[in-house]
Amino acid sequence: MTSTLDQAPAPTTPDGARARALAAAREVVAGHPPTEVPQREFLEACFDAGLAWVQFPEGLGGLGADQGVQAAVDAVLQGAGGPIPFWLNPMGYGMAAPTVVAHGSRALQERLLKPLYCCDEIWCQLFSEPGVGSDLAGLATRAVPEGNEWVVDGQKVWTSSAHKARWALLLARTDPDQPKHRGLTYFVLDMHQPGVEVRPLRQMTGEAEFNEVHLTGARIPDSHRLGEVGEGWRVAMTTLMNERNAIGGGSSVRGSGTIADALRLWRERPDLHTPVLRERLLRLAVRADAARLTGDRYRAEQGGRPAGPEGSVGKLTGAELNQEVYELCLDLLGPEAALYSGYDPTDAPSAGDPPDLARRFLRSRANTIEGGTSEVLRNVVAERLLGLPGDVRVDTGRPWKEVPRG
């Protein structure tokens, strides 16, 4: 059904847990109506009721229930006007929380999860570096042990929300003598310390959506390590898969998502119509719908199971489609496309403004790069889904420090 997302999830959980969670959700929205109480109060109530991540242990924002129950709970919470927690603290909610709960000590979990969910503490991710690009495992930021701490030096880039983040997920090299994947360790870094400097990174749209983060003798207590020393790559892979699937998630309503911008422009501006542009728009709308249905199909076929590399298909098609959609919008606009709302970072439109198509057009160039370049995603599709052999590797098994970089 095209409206599967609105339906109750498949009943894979014992009815008891499900009923208990739903009762708790109804109690929260009754006691703390999200449209009436401050957002923080509502979020705290959710957390305390175990509705933040129902599959987490009790006391850590969860109920120890099946993850499939979350959709039903969210339907109640959001149906009453509650916020979508992911968008409040994306790196925290989507990436940090599952990693901390899987790899952190109980003390660390208790320290971090509630402020994360309540948005008292925003999270960011320190993975990418100027030198690494698609070769993430080749990263050079060093973490050196010193007593009960780690001392970190290096430079990270493409960090969203770094300027407002209290905590960062950090991937750093702890052993340069190992082959690259085996010398990495995963940490939680306190962003509020002298060794951390955040600089905005301006992009072609004029805005600075991302940051560079310079780490100079930054310190991390060993208790903030997630997973074993040298196991950082394995820990990170779980996180990245979540990110890619989130990006390529897609919509389940025809004509929504990026294509909606082109369809709206088409409807509102009949003066711009030509038969050739009509054909181009139709083809894009068809591709958007084929991608949408494929996302629906994968979700249906997977039931409650987490997505695998199939998620790369949606990310790949979505990224290229976005670019073509905004190219069409600019072609439709003709001379109007020569204008811009302004490159000063403060010129960026606010949420209520009509879509700034030229800005989205420029922004879409990053879609085939961020979260896995289209080249890497095609490798993933071909190698992991189709079983084609990998490329000839010159770096496998060599100590990281001996592999040429640049």
């Binding site: 059904m1 599967t4 929504s256 629906d296 199909r297 490798n379 084609l388």
Partner: protein, 401 residues
């Protein structure tokens, strides 16, 4: 036009999740297709005057009993509440995978659906009995003399002869038209278009000339039929004709789309296997991004084809809230773009050998090209989608009720 059965019943399954019964149909179809058709038997039919395998047809009808899966019980089929299209798609996919030589499109999807919707269940049941048993072949002639899908005006006229109804005119590109025992002709009468059943046994003296066409795709036969005062039997209601033929086209387009899914998936598997094992410069060619990324794109096309074709099937079953015509046209456009492209990519991945007659790829490529010329093809479907999604001033392409 919405499927009249949509919304009248509630469907308790989930779109894209096969029921156990549907899984069983797929397994049955796959086993049958693999056992019955291999490259050699498909090639054997290329020069066969009938162009299909009567034994396989009988097996599908009599032994497996799968030809009535999407035809209503009221005309002798197995489908309740307008269901069965998922099953039909699975059958068509598996038959398409091996380019099976059976007249499923003409007999079941086109003529069968038209009869089931013609408004005369008794006549339909009578004409369909032989098909459901795999003993007979039916065809639907809704094209014009140029082979264009044109049910509103095929150019064949119906008049009262001395002994009953007689037809005059020419239709071309009739799917399974030369093999058909009975051809259901859309003819223009004073009451508008009517369905007229003409027995293929009709002698040339009665003015029926059947010419098999030399087709690009030798695995799917087309014929030109010329009627000159040819006697026929009018079936169904005058008012139902165009709706019946439209439903037939929907079912036919589903069979084509699902067949394209099976064929494309087969081509992809062939290409991947070749890319894994063929060595150049000491390495598997699939390790080069030139080949590897092409295969990745083929995979995306096959996946999207499957999503679109299955969505059409579930929608025809009334199991989504989408519009039938939209879902079917979408499947036609998506598979109509993907199938030829995947076939071209398969030739390129294989290099010279993929261009030879000995290699099976050309049979699939020609199927892809030939399919695009049937039922209006992706061009007409695309035009309808554009009219529906883009030309309406008020309606948005968001899914309505």
């Amino acid at each position: 036009m919405a499927d009249p059965t949509a919304g009248t019943t509630s469907y308790d399954g989930t779109e894209f999740v096969l029921t156990d019964e549907q899984e069983a149909v797929r397994d049955l179809a796959r086993t049958f297709a693999d056992r019955t058709f291999d490259e050699s038997s498909v090639r054997g039919l290329l020069d066969d005057p009938r162009g299909f395998d009567p034994a396989a047809w009988r097996a599908l009808g009599r032994d497996l009993g799968v030809l009535g899966l999407a035809l209503p019980t009221t005309v002798g089929g197995d489908a309740e509440d307008g269901r069965g299209h998922v099953e039909l798609a699975l059958l068509a996919e598996e038959l398409g995978r091996v380019l099976a030589g059976v007249p499923l499109l003409g007999s079941v999807a086109l003529a069968g659906t038209a009869l089931a919707r013609c408004g005369d269940d008794a006549a339909a049941a009578e004409l369909l009995a032989g098909v459901l048993a795999g003993e007979q072949v039916l065809a639907l002639a809704a094209t014009d003399a140029a082979g264009r899908w044109a049910p509103e005006d095929t150019g064949v006229s119906l008049r009262e002869g001395s002994d009953g109804a007689v037809l005059d005119g020419t239709v071309s590109h009739v799917v399974d038209g030369a093999a058909a025992d009975t051809v259901l002709v859309v003819a223009q009468s004073g009451d508008g278009p009517r369905l007229v059943a003409v027995a293929a046994g009709t002698s040339p003296a009665d003015g029926l000339v059947v010419e098999p066409l030399t087709t690009l795709d030798q695995t799917r036969r087309l014929a030109r039929l010329t009627f000159s005062g040819t006697p026929g039997r009018v079936v169904g209601d005058a008012g139902s004709t165009l709706d019946a033929v439209a439903a037939a086209r929907d079912a036919g387009a589903l069979v084509l789309a699902a067949g394209a899914v099976g064929a494309s998936a087969h081509l992809l598997a062939t290409s991947v296997e070749y890319a894994r094992t063929r060595l150049q410069f000491g390495r598997a060619i699939g390790s080069y991004q030139g080949v590897k990324h092409r295969c990745a794109d083929m995979h995306v096309r096959v996946e999207e084809s499957r999503s679109a074709a299955y969505h059409a099937a579930w929608t025809l079953d009334g199991a989504t809230d989408d519009d039938v015509r939209t879902a079917v046209d979408l499947a036609t456009v998506v598979t109509g773009e993907a199938f030829p492209q995947v076939a071209k990519d398969t030739v390129q991945v294989h290099g010279g050998i993929g261009f030879t007659w000995e290699h099976a790829t050309h049979l699939y490529y020609k199927r892809a090209v030939g399919d695009a010329a049937l039922l209006g093809g992706p061009a007409a479907a695309s035009e309808r989608l554009a009219a529906s999604w883009l030309d309406a001033t008020v309606a948005s392409p968001a899914v309505g009720a």
